[in-house]
Symmetry: C2
Subunit: 493 residues, 2 copies
Amino acid sequence: MSASLPIDPERQRLVNAALLAILPERCVLSAPEDTRPYECDGLAAYRQLPMLVTLPDTEAQVLAILNLCRELNVPIVPRGAGTGLSGGALPLANGVVISTARMNRIVRMEPLSRVAVVQPGVRNLAISDAAAQHGLYYAPDPSSQIACTIAGNVAENSGGVHCLKYGLTVHNVLRVRVATIDGDIIELGGESLDAPGLDLLAVFIGSEGMLGIVTEVTVKLVPKPEKARVIMASFDDIVTGGNAVARVIGAGIIPAGLEMMDRTSVRMVEPFVKAGYDTDAAAILLCEADGTALEVDEEIARMTEVLSNAGASAIAVSQSEAERLRFWSGRKNAFPAAGRISPDYYCMDGTIPRKRLAQVLTGIAKMEETYGLRCANVFHAGDGNLHPLILFDANKEGEFARAEAFGAAILALCVEVGGTITGEHGVGVEKIGSMCVQFSSAELSAFHAVKRAFDVHGLLNPDKAIPTLNRCAESGKMRVSAGLLRFAHLERF
Amino acid sequence: MSASLPIDPERQRLVNAALLAILPERCVLSAPEDTRPYECDGLAAYRQLPMLVTLPDTEAQVLAILNLCRELNVPIVPRGAGTGLSGGALPLANGVVISTARMNRIVRMEPLSRVAVVQPGVRNLAISDAAAQHGLYYAPDPSSQIACTIAGNVAENSGGVHCLKYGLTVHNVLRVRVATIDGDIIELGGESLDAPGLDLLAVFIGSEGMLGIVTEVTVKLVPKPEKARVIMASFDDIVTGGNAVARVIGAGIIPAGLEMMDRTSVRMVEPFVKAGYDTDAAAILLCEADGTALEVDEEIARMTEVLSNAGASAIAVSQSEAERLRFWSGRKNAFPAAGRISPDYYCMDGTIPRKRLAQVLTGIAKMEETYGLRCANVFHAGDGNLHPLILFDANKEGEFARAEAFGAAILALCVEVGGTITGEHGVGVEKIGSMCVQFSSAELSAFHAVKRAFDVHGLLNPDKAIPTLNRCAESGKMRVSAGLLRFAHLERF
């Protein structure tokens, strides 16, 4: 938990006056009662009151703000809806927040090309709502989809429960229009399968607001599947459940969703949601098929067979759309349910190779004893993206610190088995220390060099996502790369 | 066609001696009879004898060559099998070619994880051959797959006739190990769906050898479909055929392959291959379904219905694997067939939005008159990737120049309708002028900045893929970005 730094009132007056000279009054917030809602994102343990908040209505205003901040050397923190879970939108005491929430217009729907062009502040679900009349939707569905914005999704490369089959944001965004810190507008990507030049679209997606401000996004729309059904399978032990996931994928099936919950999660959720979950099972697996009726029935039959052979102790298949939604309701309400049984929880976001699921779950169970805290495991099993929920009480002396240490240990285990420290929530401020574990100094230097290519001034969301080499060295986590020969030219890269 | 520049013999002796001090003799070629095979790639109109050719056996040797070249300020041209079609591997008179052809070992097959780890010089088809015993294969299938190497595929982000459904190289490569010009080894990407930090893997794939030398590639393997069938549909006019492509995709079908050939191509191929094509049709469409037997039969029925409704004048469906291969044989032999009826041909590679197919084909037909040359259209219709084959005779005064102008006009039309100047063949030296049409100065500056982030010395494949701003300005093609406000800080970016 970080202490909020004080704001320099003179500097605030100066920058505020300069902003008001170029923007309408409604677009600049400076009073603490107005800026307070921006002091944190979904990772509320980290808070900082921003010096100023700007709410541009147009791309021209975004460019004007960027030009002004560059000239006055003011750091910038971009913000969508503030639903992020890694502190990526944590403000700075000497910085300006640029919220794109007001640029929330759907510019164009092209049902025949299956494309929507939207402003950055359009909510994820609003795109699907607008596309519904054409039988289409926008596939990535993060849990926060009712609130989170498309530009925030671009910043974090958001996923969702269907990303195993339909991909992450990077697989569903065709083009972004970006205002650079130098005051240029550049367009990255295009509607073709490939584009000439370097693939800067992919670098931009997931760059956590460090490379530019999104002013427009072109997304791919996909047809709503005719039908969907979900299997709920129970397992008597978590290792068998973890191995069943590998067996489903190994059989050549890509389910529309493949989610797992352990007993702690199931028992946490069931009294609250009444999803009909098997509370005796060590773990349950939700396994969805979508497509035409014929495809769905065939895939459900194949998945049922694979899960039986993999040792499922019970299998139920949704017999109606209402039952399908009920099966999902438990999974989708896991986070609120955690809030119901524990004063606080800390949601982790590591990924691991599928074949390591059983090993990592066993490791986390051991850590519960080490750190004296409970952990509920809810995860996107199909793509190996874990969301361990560490339950703690911030009012109890030392529990937050222990929860943070428990979280870091989980991420270190993820890296150890060949995984990564974040699946879809981003690095932000939360996991910046774990980046030293994940990457070598040469790899971090490559990240910094690309960051400088877009933002030589270092003004866009500074000190997030990529740790400095100094920071890694000081924390004692600096990793030497696996190269056969090593020539460190750190200054130069 | 470019004139070959002379090699400075003194410089050649110096660099040769330095290389022989660190490499075995078999790894360095300097005599013109040995270096001659490296003077061009598949775009044979451009030729240049390299100063020296190196053939490293190991990653350590690659690093040693890079360190030496950096210290002696020698430019480097990386090379796979030399099958590229845009001159990306065209050597330099003062440069060293690094061919990774000898690093051709399959390091590891992991059938359960569906992953193969291979050295850079492994041929595309060799991966699928090695994976076949596990019922798996590597999906991207460029026409040159029997010869081209995986590192070349990475450099060009290669596609193939199945990329509509299975994606390009960028969608099928999980990780690359890269030797940087600074002598570091970095690993980009990973086996998870998403990775923390900037997505440098995507930027690297398709970067045409400008960012580093690939020393190892981890690719995704996919299960061989149980069955495949192909529809051959005839159309009386090309506009109806073009619209039928949009209708198939519009119906929510993603065929495994969706290829179109115009009458010129069909009549060029049929006498040579005897594929059974309809030589009276204005265009034919090949439309493939793959999957389980049930899925294939259902998809073939749906596609047949859509194509009939879209105005197909005749429809045939392959009744056996032999017939399916015969239907494809014409398409796959289009390039050799062009060589049979015309002394020379120039293969273009533009992409366009699918809905513009009919408009662009009509435009190309008009250009045939303007430039006095014939053009056969063969293309990946599903993803709007055109391969117009401009037929000419290099021995006839002015025909090559007219073919080049015809090609540039086709690419300009592609950009005009919202497409791009290359689908899968890369920019290389061939299309570097067209990049000025495609991108604004701010966008080109962003490319250069990222290039510098990896190669501040400018030694890796210089003067390829991304034109300098000066070059664009001199050619009169500099495009001002579409921004509402423009602040050009070209020096700074």
